[in-house]
Amino acid sequence: MKPSWIRVVLRRPNALVGGGLMALMLLAATVGALRTPYDPIIMDFDAILQAPSAAHWLGTDEWGRDVLSRLLAGATITMWIGLLVVVIAVVVGTLVGELTGFMGGWTSRCIMALMDALQAFPSLVLALGVMAVFGPSRHGVVAALGLAYLPAVVRVVRSSVLSLREKEYVEASRVAGNSELFTLFRHVLPNSLSPIIVLATALFGWAVLSESALSFLGLGVPPPAPSWGGMLADSRNYFERAPWLAIAPGLCISLTLLGINLLGDALRDLLDPRMKNL
């Protein structure tokens, strides 16, 4: 008999498709970091805007750079930014949300007021502000987007904690003599995971899109380093003459988003003992 988790995964096409897509993208990112068919940065003015061919599988861009190579190299940067943003926003946001939601009191109120103030700015504007201060760089993008998405995570986590706090099993843990922190991490945090996972997957998508928006405004990953968002932004001017320039990174972004959303759904179900028999 196969281990149970394999059966569970096999029974969920979501997990399989999502996992497969994400594995593919991570593979692309790894390959992109190690080796690409052409150098993704050096320009080649003899091969400007070439359609896909045997030499350039996905064609070339307006500077004559190989799209496939840039796509692979861009995968490294884009995935890295997306993952880092999600990790920062989710880890910090979850901790802040859990603590403020569970403990209450004046400190919590102040922190929430701060979060509300942050949320009052559109996240992109906030990111723009941060980037303007730090200047365009990869880590700047990560910090800016992480901060911009923090309030959303805090809000979601906090609201789920507020409802979990009233559950009788939380009360029961208190009655058993457990400390507040133990109760929080043992009973409240695991039960608030579902919305966090769903939000984290959505965040990854937003991060990728925002990164492209920032790159488009010249505040993202500084050129000539490739990122999917930047490639998509640059393709705009040549859309009629060279549609492959938009299609390739666009498709990559879409597939990544699809993959991570499916994976997130499956993960949420896998981590929930109530769903085991379905």
Partner: protein
Amino acid sequence: MTIEKPPAASMRGDDPVLGIEGLQVDVRTPERGWRRVVRDFDLELQAGEITALVGESGSGKTMIGRAILGLLPPVAEVRGGDIRFGDTALVGAGEAQLRRLRGREIGMVFQEPMVSLNPALRVGAQMTEALRLHHGVSAGQARSQCLAMLERVRISDPVACFNAWPHQFSGGMRQRIMLASVLVMRPRLLIADEPTTALDAIVQKEVMDIMVSLSRDTSTAILLVSHDLSMVAHYADNVIVLRKGETIESGRCTDILLSPQHEYTRTLLGALPSRTTTAAPPSADARPLVEVQSLRVEFTRKAVLFWRKPTIVRAVEDADFSIREHETLAVVGESGSGKTTIGRALMRLTETQAGTIRFDAEEITGLDGAALKRHRSRAQMVFQDPYSSLDPRMNLGDIVAEGLRNLPGLSKVERKQRACEMLAEVGLPGDYADRHPHELSGGQRQRVCIARAIVSRPRFVVADEPVSALDVTIQKQVLDLLETLQTRFGFTCLFISHDLGVVEQIADRVLVMYRGRILESGSRDDIYDRPLHPYTRRLLQATPRIMRTESGGYRLHEHEALPREAPPGYRHYNHGSIPGVPLTPEPPLMIENSPGHLVACVPT
């Protein structure tokens, strides 16, 4: 005393209002395909008659009610049989045709009065809406008809009610308004799905009395769906007992009560709580384990506008009582009486504003840190809702073992070991320790809660409505289990309940509460046989009960305690608990009427 029911309004042998023959309903389940939830169900309901469908959860009673209206949930489907309403066949009728019948010809009252009125519309708007839609009367006529109906459901100021919002009313009032807005349509059939389950005993009696008398006047037939046999026995003419979709027994209510034929009906009736002649309660001079003096608990409710002062609600005021070692003290009262707050205060889950609580001669109101931890290893709690009191992500072994986490000197393995033993003790042996809460039924979950509470061998257990979410047969098992464990482990118990039947079975002594005040306290027999305070009497009279007769059958039992005067020199304390009598503004004194039997009074 057996109650004579007035004969049903129509014994004329007309065509039935509602006829159901061979009804089959199936439900689609994800793993096993179609499952039958109602099998070969027959029913004939005459005008002015009340027929009750009785059964435990999963018996299909609600499905039948919904099938009549064509309101089955999307996963359910009528797979055969015939439902006739007058001359109309309802199975297979079009949506437009059903819509014309709903409301106008067939009314429905739902279980949850708190959510069945639209909070965004004034009461009047909701009532007149359907009337104008179906009967095409003018706004003025609709209004006068509604006002008349509100008066008939005994709402004291119909005009004010007509212009008020639903949230301004309590559950019982809303259910009356609901009833009025359904009956104002003069339907020929009223389907009442657990209409009073969410209500307290006294309110339940009022609502049921109104519903029955109104329908007799208008010769509306009622299909009463309920799990409560005692209530059904008091009000219905005919009863149909269901189990797992099958009709077990049907007939006149009195016949079925007097001589239940089927084993299952007997089990249901036998499971009704009754007074057992338990061993004498612990003698009066037994040492008190818990002593409470002048306890006051307040809650602050924030004002709507932030510059206003918050309002302070006194949930418990000036409570004095003690619980002796090994006894079970029950606190009874309706919702909002403060009974749960008292239990939570004893567990230190709620802060207290005044008074003392002594546990084993130690003051516990100021405890914190390690001392509080120690208190919680001696006192434990069983919660009301078995569906929210177990962490869904943990298995049962871990849940129960957590009760031992704060006992010194136990390894993880030992804790798990003892948890498994405890689970076996409450009837969940073997591999139950590895299961998760969602795999269990409500009764099994409550067993886990009990196991978790007493695995650390506490001296004191607060049981907050531990059986009120369970079916009667399960309720009996859990109560029996609690009693067995109490004999075995000898813990003292504070049992909180709104159900006087359950309390009668399990309590040694009883406290009666109303709006934060203790009105009466005494031994169980004092309270049930010789109630002093008018409120206690009213509570007892409002609780429908069925008693076993010598011949093995059952009969309805109406409480016969006579009104009694307050002790000489005093009159009964009244802060709203005695309707129609002037309030007594001064705080009450607890006067001992006979040894151990105290009642709230004020000097005359």
